[in-house]
């Protein structure tokens, strides 16, 4: 601080910032990206370890031997499902009751804001069935959940079978200290959302369901199971929840520990861990895994039914049984043993899972990057914005004081005066010349946010009108309206500032850019705390364009850069990157279809589960980007 209060040093510092601004920005940006890429380097990411004392070792002797029973349950379930043409509610209720569980069912219904074309549903009616295994001599204050989605077609029958076999085995044990809820939810996430809302007696979305249910206290942890084959070759674990929320790392460690104990292969993001860490392909492999996780988390979309639990502070993961062309297969007994072990460990918990990390990235299942390590990567990117803003601020204050000196009042502050000064109210009689700069900022700000509001509200509200006037279906109408409004917003700046006096001055665009940069920095900073991946991806794409944009110089180039950095294009590129990473590259046309589907999905996620990605983009990032667009076309 002595540095700042000493005018000499300050002058030197400010000169440094002004003169070396562009190299500094570039350096910072490269450092940010480099840091991020280095996260995947195995030796830099520490090994995962179990923090929770109560789950410390895997000293549980699993005795589950009923793999065959699980399969027969699965076949029976499949038959009844086919007969009922959906969820066999009555059969499930009866079976669970015969197992000695306390059975409840919960009918729910939900009308989507617009038809979901990928899953072909609009007015959804369904029933969740669940049985509660009451722990002996406990007061139902805590519980665990094992949930299985009842999906259409032949999927997931084995999961239901295994769940019933586990329930019948668990029922005979005396050691349970927490109630266990065995839940079969219909219509995957919709049913889960309905059940969770009814269980917690809240109404976040507009699901209608019956209110009175059996309850079992505070849910401590949940595991969602998906299995579609009689044998599995490996287990894939999904962690990313709604809005990129992650479960406590200990739950993942628990799964990993039991997989190792039972010799199960387990993967994350569908990627198996490589044993050699020092070779280049191994680095590329873990970078792929990391990038897939970042993309998945950034989408804010739950990667399994567990994703909705996280809002209620219930740690949850989804386990997916994979049956691929590997040689060694595991039967239901092994899978059941793994689950039994996990539940018994969770049953031992004295407190909620809280010891381990909640914010992490996983370059492989056994290594993690904690928040303290990955945040600097983001910090470097934001530093670019701050440096640029500082540069603009100093330029602005310089030209302000410059104009002030030529005015009637000699300025009390010296040249290169302290930046703090310029925040004070201007003395009366300050030349009118610099005033319109501030006033001219108001219309672009308002208009950009109005565009954002239109983008947020119009597509769903206007779908009726759109379907009447154009030959499109409702969901197409919504998606196309989104794109139309998005593109139309880009035409706005041409007419906004011209109507105002004094628009088009240098001061005007600099102030606007300063504002936009700070606005962007604040938005991204807040976002990165909630969902690092989304914040980082947006920062990585938007920061260079935001820093470079100005109404002078190679305008066409800048415009192209700016268009490339818009969130919609980021989404499109993200889709291509994701397909590339899972080794199923998409062609341009297919990518475009996926993009349209993703837009529809984003809107649905927001309306159905309360994901904040779409409102953030529509109300925050998009207006901010429009401000930058305004800067580009200021003159």
């Amino acid at each position: 601080m002595g540095l700042l209060s000493d005018p000499h040093c300050r002058r030197a510092l400010s000169r440094l910032v002004l003169r070396l601004n562009t190299p500094l920005c570039a350096l910072s940006y490269v450092a940010g990206l480099g840091w991020f890429l280095a996260l995947a380097f195995q030796p830099l990411a520490p090994r995962t370890y179990m923090s929770e004392n109560a789950m410390g070792s895997t000293m549980v002797e699993e005795q589950f031997l009923f793999g065959e029973r699980a399969l027969s349950y699965a076949r029976e379930f499949a038959g009844h499902k086919k007969k009922a043409g959906g969820m066999p509610v009555a059969w499930l209720e009866k079976t669970m009751w015969n197992l000695g569980l306390e059975v409840h069912s919960q009918p729910f219904s939900r009308t989507l804001p617009f038809p979901d074309e990928t899953r072909e549903r609009y007015m959804v009616k369904g029933t969740n069935v669940y049985g509660i295994l009451r722990a002996p001599r406990a007061a139902s204050t805590e519980s665990l959940v094992l949930s299985v989605p009842c999906s259409e077609g032949p999927h997931n029958n084995q999961a239901v079978g295994l769940m019933l076999a586990l329930a019948s085995y668990f029922r005979g044990q005396i050691y349970w200290a927490k109630d266990i809820i065995f839940l079969v939810n219909e219509h995957d996430l919709l049913g889960m959302e309905a059940w969770l809302e009814a269980y917690h007696d809240v109404n976040v979305t507009e699901v209608q369901s019956s209110g009175t249910l059996g309850r079992a206290g505070a849910i401590q942890a949940a595991i969602s199971l998906e299995l579609s084959s009689d044998v599995v070759t490996s287990f894939d674990v999904a962690v990313e929840g709604l809005n990129g929320q992650l479960p406590n790392l200990d739950l993942l460690n628990l799964f990993h520990a039991f997989c190792q104990k039972n010799g199960l292969l387990c993967t994350i993001q569908g990627k198996l861990q490589r044993s050699d860490w020092d070779s280049l392909p191994a680095y590329a492999h873990s970078l792929q895994t990391l990038l897939l996780m970042v993309l998945g988390q950034a989408s804010g979309r739950p990667r399994g039914d567990h994703g909705l639990f996280l809002r209620y502070r219930i740690e949850a993961i989804t386990l997916r049984g994979i049956n691929s062309f590997r040689q060694y297969k595991y039967d239901m007994t092994t899978v059941g043993k793994t689950l039994e072990g996990m539940f018994r460990k969770l049953n031992n918990l004295l407190e909620r899972l809280h010891q381990s990390y909640f914010f992490y990235l996983l370059p492989s299942l056994s290594r993690f990057v904690s928040i303290g390590v990955y945040m600097p990567a983001f910090g470097f990117l934001i530093l670019v914005l701050v440096l640029k803003a500082l540069d603009l601020w100093m330029k602005l204050s310089k030209c302000e004081t410059g104009s002030a000196e030529s005015g009637p009042f000699p300025s009390p502050s010296p040249p290169h005066g302290p930046p703090l000064r310029s925040r004070r109210p201007h003395p009366p009689g300050f030349p009118q010349e610099s005033r319109p700069g501030l006033l001219a900022l108001v219309p672009p700000l308002l208009i950009c946010h109005a565009a954002g509001l239109a983008l947020y509200f119009l597509p769903v509200l206007g779908q009726r009108v759109a379907t009447q006037h154009f030959p499109v279906s409702e969901s197409e109408a919504v998606v196309l309206t989104v794109i139309a409004i998005y593109v139309a917003g880009m035409a706005l700046p041409h007419s906004t500032h011209r109507v105002l006096t004094g628009g088009g001055s240098d001061r005007g665009w600099m102030t606007l850019k300063l504002l936009a940069l700070l606005y962007l920095a604040v938005q991204l900073g807040c976002l990165a705390l909630l969902n690092f991946s989304l914040g980082f991806l947006l920062a990585a794409t938007m920061v260079p364009a935001a820093a470079a944009v100005q109404p002078t110089g190679p305008r066409v180039l800048l415009a192209a850069l700016l268009v490339l950095s818009t969130p919609a294009v980021t989404l499109l590129l993200g889709i291509f990157l994701q397909r590339e990473l899972v080794e199923a590259p998409a062609a341009a046309a297919e990518g475009w279809q996926l993009f349209l589907a993703a837009v529809a999905e984003g809107l649905l996620q927001h309306h159905l589960y309360g994901s904040f990605l779409f409102p953030f983009l529509a109300l925050g990032a998009y207006p901010c980007w429009l401000l930058l667009w305004n800067v580009l076309f200021w003159k």
């Binding site: 001599r137 206290g217 809002r311 407190e351």
Partner: protein, 487 residues
């Protein structure tokens, strides 16, 4: 444990999860609070229970829910103290002192069945001690004190019997009865053999009972097979008594009819700032409405918003006819809410009240703060109208039944129910961090505050760059000493 009214019917003896203690003091006691403290400490010693954790933060004085038992007819509520410790669990160390109070200990009589390893291999276990003044004889000239010890156990035949519901004394207790306690004046085993759905002969008890007792319990006619251990004929044929019950047909859906009054309580909402306690009270009586007294004790660290209290029955607001609310004082006493609510026939009443979670001082958190904090069960007391008419049972003939299942008049019976205790998470700091946090905050405050203060208070003026070399500076110093303005 927790009595699951919906699955098991009305409890023969009501008890909340955890430990409960309520005492009516004699009017002669001057300092009730002191006596209460001493008493809880003494009882804690006698029963090896942590009753000494009862203090002013969990003690309340209800006004309507509890009446003195037995002869005393006190109405001065200040003499009543009530406390529940929802976190306590019953354990063998509580059973042993309890058994020692029995006249024959666990050496003879019915008490030989009470083997701890079997009693705790059960779904529900609750033990209680009641002391009350009673008449010494029919003329009621002298008062004597009655000590009643009860033990309620629910065995889970499902997990031990492979889905069958047959049971025997040996299967449950791994013991049989051989004799009565020599000190006992009465020693009987009652087995409920009430026929269901008017189908008789569904179940079979061996050995065949010597007598059958009929009684009306909770508004239902019940038949009991009675085995009198004092009658010599019982042990004639075999040396020991092993009561067995067998179902003649496998039971498919022999669920108990839902009890007339049952309740459910839960915390709704998410997040660590606010929440809502909801209580659902069911009245399944087909045509009679009846009032119920609800007693809620909520610890002070849940700040109740009393204005949000809503009672809704069948979509309409239900106004309680009596409300007693005593607000909490931080760290001193809990909230006490007592209400008299009319339950219409065949209805569900939903009572909700919102609360805010308080931030405790860091020393007030227990060693496992992330487990959550318990809110004790709320108490429902009601006179439930019975479906069938009841006769007044002669006290002399069956003292056990009249004291266990009292009926005030012929048409209703008294029920006390306890709801589930709740587990509520409070905002909890990360206790592994204090040191780091202290260091970080101190550094941030020192650096930021110091420098900003410095910048804000300092006046700046531009210093002309000093020209001239060493000679000039020296000259200036000399001039300064001389008191002449510098060059």
């Amino acid at each position: 444990g927790f009595w699951r009214t919906q699955a098991w019917g009305q409890p023969p003896l009501q008890a909340p999860a955890g430990a409960e203690l309520w005492v009516w003091f004699q009017p002669t006691v001057t300092d009730v609070d002191k006596a209460w403290k001493e008493l809880s400490n003494i009882l804690s010693g006698i029963f090896c229970a942590s009753l000494n954790f009862i203090d002013s933060t969990n003690t309340v004085t209800p006004t309507a829910s509890f009446k003195p038992l037995g002869l005393a007819n006190g109405t001065d509520q200040h003499l009543l103290r009530y406390a529940v410790l929802p976190r306590e669990v019953v354990c063998t160390e509580n059973l042993t002192p309890w058994k020692k109070l029995l006249p024959c200990g666990s050496k003879a009589g019915l008490a030989v069945l009470l083997k701890a390893e079997r009693l705790f291999h059960s779904s529900y276990h609750s033990q209680a001690v009641h002391i009350r003044p009673v008449c010494r004889d029919a003329s009621c000239l002298a008062v004597s004190w009655e000590l009643r010890q009860t033990l309620t156990v629910v065995f889970d035949t499902f997990s031990s019997g492979q889905g069958k519901k047959d049971w025997s004394l040996f299967k449950m207790f791994s013991r049989t009865l051989t004799d009565a306690c020599p000190l006992a004046s009465q020693s009987k085993v009652y087995v409920d053999i009430s026929p269901k759905n008017k189908e008789k002969e569904l179940l079979e008890v061996t050995p065949p009972p010597a007598s059958v007792h009929e009684a009306i319990v909770h508004g239902e006619k019940r038949t009991y097979a009675v085995y009198d251990l004092l009658s010599p004929s019982l042990f004639n044929t075999s040396r020991s008594l092993n009561v067995q019950l067998k179902w003649k047909r496998p039971q498919d859906s022999s669920e108990l009819p839902t009890p007339v009054l049952h309740a459910q309580r839960y915390v709704s909402g998410y997040g660590l700032q606010t929440g809502e306690i909801s209580t659902l009270i069911y009245n399944t009586h087909p045509y009679r409405a009846f009032p119920v007294i609800l007693l809620e004790t909520v610890p002070w660290y849940l700040r109740l918003y009393v204005h949000t209290l809503t009672i809704i029955t069948k979509g309409k607001e239900n106004k309680p006819s009596y409300i007693h609310y005593q607000p909490a004082q931080d760290r001193r006493r809990p909230h006490l809410l007592e209400m008299l609510i009319q339950l219409p026939a065949n209805s569900v009443t939903k009572i909700t009240i919102q609360f805010e979670r308080a931030l405790l001082k860091w020393t007030e958190y227990p060693p496992d703060p992330n487990h959550g904090f318990y809110v004790s069960s709320s108490v429902l007391s009601a006179l439930v109208p019975s479906v069938i008419a009841m006769k007044d049972v002669d006290v002399e003939q069956s003292p056990l039944f009249t004291s266990l299942f009292p009926s005030s008049d012929g048409s209703s019976y008294f029920v006390r129910l306890y709801t589930e205790p709740l587990l509520v998470n409070l905002p909890t700091p990360d206790f592994s961090m204090p040191y780091n946090v202290i260091c970080l905050t101190c550094t941030v405050v020192a650096v930021c505050y110091g420098s900003f203060y410095n910048l804000l208070t300092r006046t700046f003026h531009v210093e002309e760059p000093s020209r001239g070399g060493l000679a000039k500076r020296l000259a200036n110093i000399i001039r300064k000493f001389r008191g002449v303005p510098p060059l």
